[in-house]
């Protein structure tokens, strides 16, 4: 079983974001980066498949971006990936999802991966297009927003999270691209011995020019914070009044309480 896991290195979402000088992305300076949360589910699921198969799987961890993304790749290796691939591009933030998916597909095309795992979206751009577009380019099945995953032979049964609190049950054959949603699994911590072992694992670097052969279809022209909608609401009154006011606001604003 050959498995590819596509991951992204994204800023810690608790960071204070500033728009960059060109006005088309955030300023990366002074930001702490980490492995995209949804991609952690992807790595974890890939490692579980390998464990289920008694180790009879080979997991490649792929990330596109500047040198800092190697940290995310190494984390994937420490979680159980077998080899890392870094496609180097200092300006990846200027590439649109179509180009990124094309690069992944160009890398994967002749390598006969049975399964491609990725997060359902990145926490920074959040287009949720990469998995689906790469699947189309590779002519693989594509199943998105997975919250469960079971494999038997070359058949997968899985559940998808749908809007409105519904679930969908799906069955599909390999090869496939799947995108992972919160709730699929609890990612393991890379242990210290595994962080050490990851240092010895193969890590290949390629320039993006080796795989990029399409123009962008949609460029981000401008990035900006939305206008502030005023400050929070301060309720006043005694405890009973406060509770009533709060309950009515929650009923109005939070669909789950209706």
């Amino acid at each position: 079983m050959k498995i590819l896991v596509c991951i992204k290195h994204v800023p810690d979402m608790e960071s204070r974001f500033r728009v960059n000088e060109a006005g088309n992305w955030y300023d990366e300076r002074d930001l702490a980066f980490r492995l995209n949360e949804y991609d952690e589910f992807a790595v974890e699921q890939a490692v579980r498949v390998k464990e289920q198969l008694g180790g009879a799987a080979d997991i490649t961890i792929l990330s596109i971006g500047p040198d800092r993304v190697i940290e995310a790749v190494k984390k994937g290796l420490a979680m159980g990936g077998d080899r890392g691939v870094h496609i180097k591009d200092d300006l990846v933030y200027q590439k649109d999802p179509w180009q990124v998916a094309s690069v992944i597909a160009a890398f994967a095309r002749d390598k006969n991966f049975d399964l491609v795992f990725t997060g359902m979206q990145s926490q920074d751009r959040g287009s949720a297009q990469i998995g689906a577009a790469a699947a189309e380019l590779l002519d693989y099945a594509c199943i998105t927003t997975l919250v469960s995953f079971e494999i038997s032979g070359d058949v997968v049964t899985a559940r998808r999270e749908l809007e409105g609190g519904m679930r969908g049950a799906v069955r599909f054959k390999l090869p496939a691209v799947v995108t992972c949603q919160l709730g699929l699994n609890t990612p393991r911590y890379p242990t210290l011995p595994n962080i050490m072992k990851a240092k010895q694992k193969e890590l290949l670097t390629f320039p993006i020019a080796d795989f990029l052969n399409v123009e962008s279809l949609a460029e981000t022209e401008k990035m900006y914070p939305p206008e502030r909608k005023g400050r929070g609401l301060v309720l006043e009154g005694d405890v009973n009044e406060l509770a009533d006011k709060l309950a009515s606001i929650l009923k109005e604003k939070a669909p789950a309480l209706r």
């Binding site: 940290e71 242990t191 210290l192």
Partner: protein, 379 residues
């Protein structure tokens, strides 16, 4: 000169940080109140590899470097100083002397159970009458055939409550002063070892600080660490390394308190503005952060010196001195920024203030650190 962590150190830092955030932080108040770290957490920390960070893979360790160890202790101590010192005393004071001075047989026998957490390590040096004056040990030993027979008392034994593996120092002849001291690897579950008490303390209340009495404790001859009379040197060199662990612990405590103070100052509004807009608070934050950053640099540098087998005794004394004083200063100021809330348990900075103080005392008081530093300058 490179002041940035390698990618591998960043992976380690973020992994340990995630672990601490989910597994340690939620328990910190409970650990302080119950005066113990739940066994389950100790097991999780060992499963994560935190108990064998820089021990070689041949003995079950992770095989990482000393800087990785400092990062581990720092990250854990940000949330819970008691858990931080468990790792620090275990690694620096029990595993390290076995690694540095032990025979191959001793390393193979004693290190793997320490890495897995089956045994928690501790260091038995201090006695009621021998603290900073190490050469004044009253615990004695005599050779008896294939054994050494040890009698005496030890106090302030961090991790002693686990009754695991201890490095015990005793004198063959008190008149020989430091030349008469030898070190032994002992099983604290053995016959002849009595656990007298677990001290109640100001801070690091989750950490066991125990007193032991030894009456005719028989230690097999092969458990002598180093050679007879080498004990004082083993103790001093072990403490040199241990100070890096304590500096990392102090640094973590300071950072944990600083993060809370910074967040609180931005959220707490008085006079219609966040208090972070007041210069009185801004200057506090600036001073706290400056001391933290200098502590960080000197601690990491000491770790680097030890890793690269360069002399580091004065540097480790300096990092322990500076980081511990930073910890007491920063935690005190963190309470001040929180005002009355800072005095309340729920806000956690009061615990950090209590936890910080010990870092100025153990593994050599800061007065002893100043002696070490000035002797290095003047000798």
């Amino acid at each position: 000169m490179d002041f940035e962590f390698s990618q591998d150190h960043k992976v380690l830092q973020s992994s340990v940080r995630d672990f601490v955030e989910k597994e340690v932080k939620p328990l910190a108040i409970q650990i302080d109140e119950n005066h113990m770290i739940p066994d389950e957490l100790v097991q999780k920390m060992s499963a994560m590899g935190l108990l064998g960070s820089y021990l070689p893979e041949a003995y079950g360790g992770a095989g990482l470097d000393i800087l990785s160890y400092a990062i581990v202790v720092e990250e854990v101590s940000k949330a819970c100083a008691s858990s931080g010192v468990l790792i620090s005393a275990h690694t620096s004071l029990a595993c390290d002397p076995i690694l540095q001075f032990g025979t191959e047989e001793q390393k193979k026998k004693f290190l793997p159970p320490l890495v897995t957490g089956e045994k928690i390590g501790c260091f038995l040096l201090t006695e009621p009458e021998a603290g900073s004056d190490v050469a004044g040990l009253a615990t004695t030993y005599q050779k008896d055939g294939g054994h050494y027979v040890i009698n005496g008392n030890k106090i302030f034994v961090t991790n002693g409550g686990y009754r695991g593996t201890g490095i015990l120092f005793a004198s063959m002849d008190r008149s020989l002063k430091h030349k008469g001291i030898s070190a032994f690897i002992v099983d604290l579950g053995s016959e002849g070892v009595e656990l007298l008490r677990n001290e109640s303390k100001l801070g690091i209340r989750g950490s066991y600080t125990t007193a032991f009495a030894f009456s005719n404790l028989r230690v097999p001859a092969e458990n002598l660490l180093g050679s007879e009379g080498q004990g004082f040197k083993i103790a001093m060199e072990t403490l040199n390394g241990g100070r890096i662990g304590i500096a990392a612990q102090a640094l973590g405590i300071a950072e944990g308190a600083f993060e809370r103070a910074l967040t609180y100052s931005k959220e707490r509004e008085q006079f219609g503005h966040p208090i972070s807009e007041l210069q009185a608070i801004q200057f506090k934050l600036a001073d706290m952060y400056t001391r933290i950053e200098t502590s960080k640099l000197i601690t990491y540098r000491s770790a680097w010196l030890k890793e690269n087998k360069k002399p580091y005794a004065a540097e480790s004394a300096m990092c322990k001195l500076h980081a511990s004083e930073t910890a007491t200063y920063v935690t005190k100021e963190a309470i001040q920024i929180h005002g009355g809330y800072g005095y309340v348990t729920e806000y956690e900075v009061e615990r950090m203030y209590r936890d910080a103080k010990i870092t100025e005392i153990y593994e050599g008081t800061n007065e002893v650190q100043r002696l070490i530093i000035s002797r290095a300058l003047l000798s």
